[in-house]
């Protein structure tokens, strides 16, 4: 096997991470369903996880992976609570459209 095929520059992983992050932000901006917006947020989190793992590999630091672990835990908790809130909002407004949920208007 040529070393060419055995090596992947770490910058590619980071690029992938930034692209995924940007896609997450785009989804956060253009999606109209509340749940889909939340999913975009999860996408952003995962992108960041990827970059953490990349750097952990770069510097042979396990703490990077530990941090990813914690991010996962918090994301799980956040997902649980967030979805509960979405259920509560749905019960109140009978809609999941982001544009209709505008009670915070001044």
């Amino acid at each position: 096997m040529s070393s060419f095929a055995q090596e992947v520059p770490l910058s590619w992983y980071l690029l992938l991470s930034s692209v995924l992050f940007s896609l997450g932000v785009v989804g956060f901006l253009i999606k109209r369903n509340l749940i889909t917006v939340f999913m975009s947020i999860e996408l952003m989190l995962n992108a960041v996880n990827l970059s953490f793992v990349t750097f952990a590999h770069e510097w042979h630091a396990v703490k990077g992976q530990i941090f990813v672990f914690f991010v996962m835990m918090v994301a799980a908790a956040e997902a649980a609570v967030g979805l509960a809130i979405i259920i509560a909002v749905f019960r109140a407004r009978a809609t999941l459209s982001v544009d209709r949920i505008n009670l915070m208007k001044l």
Binding site: M1, F4, Q6, E7, V8, P9, L10, S11, Y13, L15, L16, S18, V19, L20, F21, S22, L23, G24, V25, V26, L29, I30, R32, N33, I35, T36, M39, E42, L43, N46, N49, L50, V53, A56, H57, V62, K63, Q65, F69, F70, M72, M73, V74, A76, A77, E78, A79, A80, V81, L83, A84, I85, I86, I87, A88, R91, A92, A94, S97, R100
Partner: protein, 182 residues
């Protein structure tokens, strides 16, 4: 080998992410996201984070995404309608995204000193040098307290979620009546 694996699974990631954006029904978006999560797990494996790969599959695709799917089906969310958009989102948001992407890419491309990932790097037979061992040592020795606190955090989150989502809790709506889902 490594390269081919990377390309395939990176492609899956991107495809899943783009599909998430393009689909109109949330359930389709959820399924795309599961694809993304799983591909990411493989990528973690390629980077030598075995524990994390497993955790990713178990926690993210196996629990969180299932939770999302449950909620989608519970609330019977339909296809998205075209509603009034927000001009700000388009005029302000998109350039920001482009800027973010551009800045990050520039930095990453111009960065020097980033190494490479090799397949099978870090695989040993020595249990004390394995990734699993290192992770667990840090987790249960140095960062034991954060670990335990995180578990309490999750407990609280569960309690909160139960409290918020329970039928007895809730906003009574504009017309003073309890509105249940249609």
């Amino acid at each position: 080998m490594h390269l081919i694996l990377f390309i395939i699974f990176a492609g899956f990631c991107l495809a899943g992410a783009i599909n998430l954006l393009l689909q109109t029904h949330p359930i389709n978006s959820a399924l795309s996201l599961i694809v993304v999560m799983t591909s990411l797990a493989v990528l973690y494996l390629l980077l030598g984070a075995e524990f994390l790969a497993a955790a990713q599959i178990i926690v993210y695709s196996g629990a969180i995404m299932v939770l999302f799917t449950f909620v989608v089906m519970l609330l019977n969310a339909g296809r998205e309608e075209r509603t009034l958009g927000s001009r700000a989102a388009l005029s302000v948001g998109f350039p920001s995204v482009v800027a973010i992407l551009a800045v990050l890419s520039t930095i990453i491309i111009r960065a020097q000193g980033l190494g490479v990932a090799r397949l099978g790097e870090g695989l040993t037979n020595d249990p004390e040098k394995s990734n699993m061992f290192q992770v667990s040592r840090v987790l249960f020795h140095e960062l034991l307290l954060p670990f335990e606190v995180t578990s309490i955090l999750i407990l609280i989150a569960i309690l909160g979620a139960v409290a918020i989502a329970s039928p007895g809790h809730g906003y009574t709506g504009d017309d003073g009546e309890r509105i249940s889902h249609k």
